[in-house]
């Protein structure tokens, strides 16, 4: 085994310098039992809802199960890798993802006027998904080397790191993903202790930029989505249809719902995108408010566990990374649940672990793999500085 390989494969517990904690099974396999349990529970809920949404389309369900297996395997693998490795190679990941993003704009394939995929020998993937992980790792690695709270110069460079891929993804165009990618980077800055004066200034600038954004940056269809949010009735059969139908599905679920497999909105195809972005409407229709509360409960527990892991992490890099992964996860949840209920504009954000979809699921679980790694990593006695 080469030195690099030794570095790559985490040192075995017996080689660890951690003397305070006892080795347990979970530490050996580098899994956080509570987080794993919550994720599995949510996965199960997701499959139950997806089964209903897909109307017994077993091939669809089977595909999703395969994706879950791949995603969990990915999570498990990532959890085994020493975190320092990611910090060391963060720039390489970042630049690699950036190059792929640039390639998408040149050679990308896609549908509905958006170019989001790279096709390599029959295998298609979305480089923007890679950036979802590369971004927080890069910013966390960059800032954790600096004194915190970050100084203006470092904030500036961090923002440049955030801006380049964001602009590339906006150009695809994929507003939803670009927001999530940018958010995952900005959250790192925030957790690093970005000064409130900077934050408030940025917020003021953001508000001031709404008008030029609206007129010069947003695409017609994006403007349409925002307008539709405020007045879905204006275009009942066109752009407003999705929101009206999803609100109807949610509202008609009432307290206890119509029962599993008995949702009329989804089963009679009134609800669009019922197994992807709008799947929570299916859950809300069939399991009612009770179901929604339960689902949000699961998400809150996962987020709470994620933040705990972040707080307990042993250094800045791990803290910032864990915090960013957890909070980005929440942003997913909030944006999706908010948009389906007509609280936010419709941007293409899936409901994590429940919506049908392979790539985003894998990215998500890789993120949880990092969390698990941070959580179960043997504590070293701090030797550096």
């Amino acid at each position: 085994m080469s030195v690099r390989q030794q570095d790559f494969i985490r040192r075995m517990p017996e080689a660890s310098h951690d003397l305070r904690r006892r080795r347990s099974f979970w530490r050996v396999v580098h899994l956080d039992p509570l987080l794993l349990f919550l994720l599995l529970a949510l996965t199960a809920v997701g499959l139950v809802v997806l089964y209903s949404a897909s109307e017994g389309n077993s091939s669809l369900l089977r595909r999703q199960v395969v994706f879950f297996i791949i995603a969990y395997a990915g999570m498990f693998t990532i959890a085994q890798i020493q975190l320092d490795y990611f910090a060391r190679w963060s720039l390489l990941f970042y630049v690699g993802a950036l190059i792929l993003l640039a390639l998408v704009l040149i050679w990308g394939v896609g549908a509905k006027g958006a170019q989001r995929w790279l096709s390599l020998g029959g295998f298609r993937f979305q480089p923007s998904e890679m950036m979802k992980l590369a971004m927080p790792i890069a910013i966390a690695a960059y800032l954790s080397n600096k004194t915190l709270p970050p100084r203006f110069k470092h904030v500036f460079w961090s923002l440049v790191f955030v801006a380049i891929p964001t602009v590339l993804i906006v150009r695809q165009p994929d507003l939803g993903t670009s927001i999530l990618v940018a958010t995952s980077g900005l959250i790192v800055l925030f957790y690093a202790g970005l000064r409130w004066s900077y934050i408030l200034t940025a917020a003021a600038l953001l508000i001031a930029s709404v008008w030029p954004m609206w007129h010069y940056v947003l695409h017609d269809y994006q403007r349409q989505r925002v307008l539709t949010l405020f007045n879905p009735e204006a275009d009942k059969l066109g752009a407003g249809w999705n929101i009206i139908q999803s609100k109807t599905a949610i509202g008609s679920g009432g307290v206890n719902g119509k029962g599993w497999l008995d949702g009329t909105q989804s089963h009679l195809d009134f609800l669009p995108e019922s197994h992807t972005d709008f799947i929570i409407a299916v859950l809300a229709e069939e399991f009612g408010f009770v179901g929604v509360v339960a689902l949000l409960g699961f998400y809150l527990l996962i987020i709470a566990r994620g933040l705990m892991i972040a707080v307990n992490a042993q250094d800045s890099f791990r803290r910032l990374l864990a915090g960013s992964i957890t909070l980005t996860f929440f942003v997913y949840v909030f944006v999706n649940i908010g948009m389906v209920s007509g609280l936010l504009p419709v941007v293409g954000v899936p409901l994590p672990l429940v919506s049908l979809g392979g790539t985003s699921l894998v990215t998500l679980m890789l993120g949880f793999g990092l969390l698990m790694g941070i959580s179960t990593e043997p504590r070293r006695i701090s030797t550096n500085r």
Binding site: T147, L148, P149, R151, F190, Y191, G193, L237, Q245, K247, T248, A249, I250, G251, S252, G253, G254, V255, T264, Q265, L268, D269, F270, A284, G288, F289, V292, V293, L296, Y299, L300, I303, A304, L307, A310, V311, S316, R319, L320, G323, L327, F330, F334, I337, G338, S341, G342, L343, R385
Partner: protein
């Protein structure tokens, strides 16, 4: 914080991070509460609202159209039928490119620009997604086959069967039975709530004639079907069904064979024939010539056909029998004679000398008799048989307009007949009040004199004249004319509007005079009654179309054909036991005895002896057209075309 700090401050970093995590934790809880509030509001506060909306989504209440009632003639011959017709519809949601699909369809079947225009018009109106929109009606077998063969290239194209009204007798009953047609925007805007409910799934509505008058009975009651549908409007199952009540069949008094006889007798001439069953008031035949094919209107008439009909000088769309207002002329003389006798203004033996004109005291205007040198000494019998004008000028003057008005009204003159065909006109039986109201002028004695011979202000529709002569034939029993004999099982009884009380002596006297018109050697219509195996009674009339100036001899040759006199005839037969009363008007035919009476004779022979005639149909398309737009020929009064013109395609 110190700007120059070079070393990491682990405690500060940890504390900042923990604070920030706490901050985000609170933020997360806050945002989750907002989400919960949102779902609470949707699922619990507005639950009822959304539950209803969800049901409205999936439950479609389809109307089931009842079958329109059929219409039969008096012998059970079918006059209005429902036949399956095939409609080509498109479901835009299932079509990638509407333009391409329509272009492809145009290669297969006839699709005019108007069809496409109408299609896009309906596409713009409010509709559910996946609801088919009709493009073409009345596909032929060949067209259906062509579409079927190309089905694989025509995603989103549907052919649906639908019952469409059909009039097997074509132009025979165009004016009486009328036709159904597509419900137009104006009709929609006039519907009340109940009608909107009834017609939401209907394609057509009765536009004119019996079809319009008996719309409620013919239509029936719509049924409902509650079905569960998916978003693509595909019906998954029926939840509940309420069957429609089919429309009721109508049986008419009309006799198809007599109707044909009337058309045959009229030939290509313009005019109207009305025949009434004396005992019941049932209309045996009602003809306005020329006619047109009502089938053209059922699924929407083409502009070309419509303009041909509308632009025709002969105004085939105009129903002369109930809307044409003609001076009744001498046909009212029997009625006037009855009036004079009944009011004791004259006696049966009262005589005057007829020098060929009549003159009022202190007035040098001459009221001319049609016979230049007069009829000599005339009593009322001779005045009817030979149609002396002078006698009736004198009688009218002595009776005065008030009594004339009152008496004539009892025979239905100037009154709506109450016939069950919509849009009849009431003619004009003038009075002092009418003239004051309509013309802001006092009544002059000269006005009365003109009315005495059915000219001047007096106007009547052919139907009114038929009702008048029918009332005479019934010895004063004024029956309401009826086209429909029974609705479903319910038989409509004859309806007596009023009785004209006159001494039987006078009835006998006037009947005899009317018989002598037909059969006496000096009767004006003796040629029409030649060689008859039964006795008939009648009265001819010749109506002036334009006024003749004082001291000017009427020279028909000098006038255009359309300004010639109208020929009129009223009569009944058989004389001893009247069965059929007839009124005939032949426009611009000049002679009542020569042109109108023979038509009536043929009607009598057909009804009483079974000598029916078959018409040589004048095809609508052969009717002479004068292009478009045109100021239509107005026969007597401005506005008499109004009803005919109101029908738009």
């Amino acid at each position: 914080m110190q700007e120059q700090q070079q070393f990491k401050n682990y405690h500060l970093e940890t504390r900042t991070f923990s604070n920030r995590v706490l901050f985000t934790g609170l933020l997360i809880v806050g945002l989750v509460l907002i989400l919960l509030a949102r779902y609470y509001s949707l699922q619990i506060v507005d639950y009822e609202n959304y539950a209803t909306q969800s049901d409205n989504n999936r439950i479609l209440v389809q109307t089931i159209n009842p079958q329109r009632g059929l219409i039969f003639d008096r012998d059970g011959k079918l006059l209005a039928d429902n036949r399956p017709s095939y409609i080509l519809s498109l479901v835009p949601e299932n079509i990638a490119s509407l333009d391409e699909t329509i272009a492809l369809l145009r290669q297969l079947v006839v699709v005019s620009d108007k069809h496409i225009q109408d299609f896009y018009k309906s596409l713009k109106t409010n509709r559910r997604p996946y609801q088919p929109i009709p493009l073409r009606y009345r596909l032929t077998e060949e067209e259906i086959a062509k579409i079927a063969v190309n089905e694989y290239r025509l995603a989103g194209v549907e052919v649906q069967a639908q019952l469409v009204r059909d009039y097997p007798e074509g132009d025979l009953f165009a004016h009486s039975i009328g036709y159904v047609g597509k419900i137009n925007d104006r009709e929609w805007s006039r519907f009340d709530e109940e009608e909107v409910r009834r017609y939401q799934g209907a394609h057509t509505i009765g536009k004119i004639g019996i079809e319009k008058f008996y719309e409620d009975s013919l239509f029936g009651e719509i049924g409902y079907r509650h079905v569960e549908i998916n978003a693509r409007m595909r019906v998954l199952r029926t939840l509940e069904q309420e069957n429609p009540v089919q429309g009721e069949d109508l049986s008419l008094h009309l006799d198809t064979r007599l109707q044909k006889t009337a058309f045959a007798a009229m030939g290509a001439r313009r005019g109207a024939v009305v025949a009434i069953d004396v005992k019941t008031g049932g209309i045996l035949s009602i003809v306005s010539s020329p006619s047109y094919d009502p089938n053209l209107f059922v699924t929407g008439i083409s502009y070309k056909d419509y303009n041909a009909l509308r632009g025709s000088l002969d105004i085939p769309l105009f129903d002369r029998a109930i809307q044409g207002r003609y001076p009744p002329a001498s046909t009212i003389k029997p009625m006037m004679g009855l009036a004079g006798l009944s009011e004791q203004v004259i006696s049966q033996s009262y005589k005057i000398f007829d020098p060929g004109y009549y003159q009022l005291e202190n007035d040098d205007r001459l009221y001319r008799d049609w016979k230049r040198h007069g009829h000599g000494i005339v009593n009322v019998h001779k005045a009817i048989v030979q149609s002396s004008d002078t006698f009736f000028y004198d009688l009218a003057f002595r009776m005065g307009i008030d009594r004339i008005h009152r008496f004539g009204s009892q025979f239905g003159l100037g009154q709506p007949t109450g016939v069950d065909i919509p849009s009849e006109r009431r003619g004009l039986w003038p009075s002092r009040e009418w003239k004051k109201r309509a013309r802001q002028l006092p009544w002059f004695p000269g006005d009365t004199i003109n009315v005495g011979i059915g000219q001047g202000f007096a106007l009547a529709t052919p139907l009114q004249l038929a009702v008048m002569v029918n009332t005479i034939a019934n010895r004063g029993k004024h029956l309401k004319p009826q086209v429909v004999k029974s609705i479903g099982e319910e038989v409509l009884p004859p309806e007596v509007l009023n009785y004209v009380e006159i001494d039987d002596r006078h009835w006998d006297f006037v009947f005899k005079a009317m018989k002598d018109v037909m059969h006496a050697p000096n009767g004006t219509a003796r040629r029409a009654a030649k060689n008859s195996s039964y006795d008939m009674a009648g009265k001819t009339g010749t109506a002036q179309v334009v006024g003749i100036k004082q001291n000017e001899k009427y020279d028909s040759e000098a006038l255009k054909e359309r300004h010639r006199d109208h020929a009129l005839f009223v009569g009944f037969a058989p004389y001893d036991d009247p069965q059929i009363a007839v009124a005939v008007i032949v426009e611009n035919a000049e002679s009542g005895s020569g042109s109108a009476a023979p038509v009536a004779r043929k009607m009598f022979d057909a009804h009483l002896l079974g000598q029916y005639l078959e018409p040589e149909r004048v095809k609508v398309k052969d009717v002479k057209t004068v292009g478009y737009p045109i100021e239509p020929f107005v026969p007597f009064q401005r506005g008499s075309l109004a009803v005919a013109q109101r029908e738009s395609p």
